[in-house]
């Protein structure tokens, strides 16, 4: 039995299956406990306790919530389009989970010395990032179809808003990905991570791209401040107004699964994947020459490069830790910033993010032409662009909209 298992795991297919099982189980479990985490973060932001009744410090709250959602009556309203009404939440969860398939959790490893090198990820495919874009672009169907099938005007408005928002924010998202592809010369995520380990994290070299990408990821996941599709003040519950019990929970799970998979992609693109700290090879080499800290340097190098299973496990832990930090950022933003108005949302996408993303992509193209895509020049370009954007926004003043035009003029306020 053990020998047979070992034989299977020694092949790339077997390892991929193992990673897949861990990733699917991990994302599902994570989604449940992330909801608790979200409530705790909200409570922390608003200076209250948050859920603290079920289990120690409220840790078993997700189990109670899950039980409740399973046992609740699953209502399908009479005049909905049944097939699409049931289909929509399924797409939400499936699309949310699919993105995890190409995440390189732990670099390469081998079970024993001399064995074949295996990649610790579900699938290493040639198109890499394009797969992420392709899967992400399908996510809008759940919201649109769910909103339409509900046969409710608020739900339809929610779905329409979501469609317009996702289509708009896919443009800057694509431009950010273009910068990453140009800088690393790779489409495979694990290749991008290796390239960043050799030189520097893209999040340090191209901070503006990172910020843009994070913002578009928030918008694509329909998270606050971009959650206009479920804007309570205007649309009751938005696209999920008519949903209840487990079907509603699938939408919710889909949102958290989407957060996990986009965060994982962001870690690979900008935060050096499994590398514990930036420049770990150089810092590790330098530390090894300092006698009392030689063990630390050796450990840094071991974590980053060693192909043993234990190192791969530590790398996976580092990766998951970084994903957790990014998810905390998602929640931090959600409970800090108020929701955008729809015209502000569109203006941000088309008049701020698209031009900035284009400028960044052009700059990345020049750097490739000069043969130094991953140099400090990238950072310099980001800085200059940020300065220019600031000057333009100061010079152009606050934008006025139709509604602001119609308000009576107030003395002393421009």
């Amino acid at each position: 039995m053990i020998d047979w298992l070992k034989e299977i795991l020694a092949s790339q297919f077997g390892l991929s299956m193992l990673v897949m099982l861990l990733a699917v189980g991990g994302v599902m479990g994570a989604a449940a406990w992330l909801i608790l985490f979200e409530r705790k973060v909200a409570a922390w932001t608003q200076d209250r306790y948050g859920p603290n009744r079920v289990g120690p410090r409220g840790l078993f709250q997700p189990i109670a919530d899950g039980l409740k959602l399973f046992l609740k009556e699953d209502i399908i309203p009479g005049k909905v389009d049944r097939a699409l009404f049931i289909f929509a939440p399924c797409i939400a969860l499936i699309i949310g989970m699919l993105g995890v398939a190409i995440v390189p959790f732990g670099g390469v490893m081998r079970w024993s010395d001399g064995g074949p090198l295996l990649k610790v990820q579900v699938a290493s495919i040639d198109i890499g990032l394009l797969y992420v874009v392709a899967v992400g672009s399908l996510g809008v169907y759940s919201v649109v179809l769910g909103g339409w099938a509900s046969n409710n005007k608020y739900a339809t408005y929610g779905g329409m808003r979501a469609a317009a928002q996702m289509l708009s924010y896919e443009v800057p998202l694509g431009l950010c990905l273009l910068v990453c592809i140009l800088s690393t010369g790779q489409l495979r995520l694990e290749g991008m991570v290796e390239r960043q380990i050799q030189s520097c994290w893209l999040g340090i070299l191209q901070p503006l791209v990172f910020v843009l990408f994070f913002t578009t990821a928030l918008a694509e996941a329909n998270r606050a401040p971009f959650d206009l599709a479920e804007c309570e003040q205007e649309l009751v519950g938005g696209f999920h107004t008519e949903y209840s019990a487990m079907k509603w929970a699938l939408f919710f799970f889909g949102e958290y699964a989407h957060m996990v998979s986009t965060s994982a992609v962001m870690v690979a693109l900008f935060l050096g994947g499994w590398e514990p700290i930036p420049f770990s090879l150089k810092i590790g080499g330098w530390l090894e020459s300092v006698s009392p800290l030689a063990w630390l340097g050796a450990m840094l190098k071991w974590i980053t490069l060693d192909p043993s299973p234990w190192a791969a496990l530590v790398r996976g832990g580092v990766y998951v830790g970084k994903v957790g930090c990014l998810i905390f950022c998602y929640m931090w933003v959600r409970w800090t910033l108020p929701r955008f108005r729809f015209d502000q949302l569109m203006r941000l996408a088309w008049k701020a993010m698209v031009p900035t993303g284009m400028a960044l992509a052009v700059w990345a193209g020049f750097l490739v032409y000069w043969g130094r895509p991953m140099s400090a020049w990238a950072l310099a370009g980001n800085g200059i662009l940020l300065l220019l954007c600031g000057m333009i926004s100061v010079a152009s003043g606050r934008p006025t909209t139709g509604r602001q035009d119609s308000l009576p003029k107030v003395e002393g306020v421009s």
Binding site: D126, A164, S406
Partner: protein, 256 residues
């Protein structure tokens, strides 16, 4: 393996059979003809599969994946044009795009597959669904009447449409079957990497076409903005005079 002439003529026969099936499956005409349409469609699709399998050899895995994906996309394609409700047509179109992507990826063109999903399923069809949602906001009318709306219940000119469509299919299919194709240079492309190869060809040999397509899209965007711009002013005095040219209107306000 049939001779090419036999294969071409049998493909014509299958096209006629398929046309008959699709014609019967079209909505409207006052009577349900789903069962004969389904039977004829199954026979035509099965014949097509057998014909293709005899003409082009492959491993068992390739044959099975081709069979499953091709059947799905054929069924989806027929439902796109025969379903009485536009939203379902659009959703079936997504199914066609996804299963065609499967076919493309199975034959080794990963980049084309990703492009198909991103462009068709992810962008164009979302716009379709969007438009259909706006055109058909309410479902309740349909439910009270117990069937699809008047203008969706009946196919207009089904015979002409089917003849034109299947003529095209027969001509294209006959052309493809009648020629012998050189074995694809799979090993070469696999060594370079599919995406890299496509990129190199697009930016060297077809650079002008790519640039032209980009300019075309830019013109389309500019045109759309020019058409969509409107004065939004609550003050009647600030509104433009009657009969102002569209281009003039746009200069006064910001689009958002």
């Amino acid at each position: 393996m049939l001779t090419s002439t036999t294969a071409v003529y049998s493909s014509y026969g299958l096209a006629v059979l398929g046309a008959l099936g699709v014609y019967l499956a079209m909505p409207g005409g006052g009577r349900r003809r789903g069962v004969p349409a389904l039977l004829i469609g199954i026979i035509a699709a099965f014949g097509l599969m057998v014909l293709l399998l005899t003409q082009y050899a492959g491993t068992t895995g390739q044959c099975v994946s081709f069979f499953v994906l091709a059947t799905t996309s054929l069924l989806g394609a027929v439902r796109v044009i025969t379903h009485a409700r536009p939203v379902y047509s659009a959703v079936y179109f997504v199914l066609v795009a996804l299963s065609s992507t499967g076919l493309v990826v199975a034959s080794g063109a990963e980049f084309l597959g990703a492009a198909l999903v991103i462009v068709y399923a992810g962008a164009i069809l979302v716009t379709y669904v969007f438009v259909i949602m706006l055109a058909q906001p309410s479902d309740s009318e349909m439910l009270t009447r117990g069937g699809p709306l008047d203008y969706d219940a009946e196919a207009r000119e089904p015979a002409l449409a089917v003849v034109a469509g299947f003529l095209l299919i027969a001509v294209l299919g006959g052309m493809l079957l009648g020629r012998s194709w050189p074995a694809a240079a799979a090993s070469e492309s696999a060594a370079v990497g599919n995406t890299l190869g496509v990129g190199q060809v697009m930016l060297t040999r077809y650079a002008v076409s790519v640039e032209l397509a980009g300019v075309l899209l830019l013109v389309a965007i500019v045109g759309a903005i020019a058409l969509a711009r409107k004065i939004v002013s609550p003050d009647p005095a600030a509104r433009p005079p009657e009969g102002m040219a569209v281009g003039e209107i746009g200069r006064r306000v910001k689009p958002f």
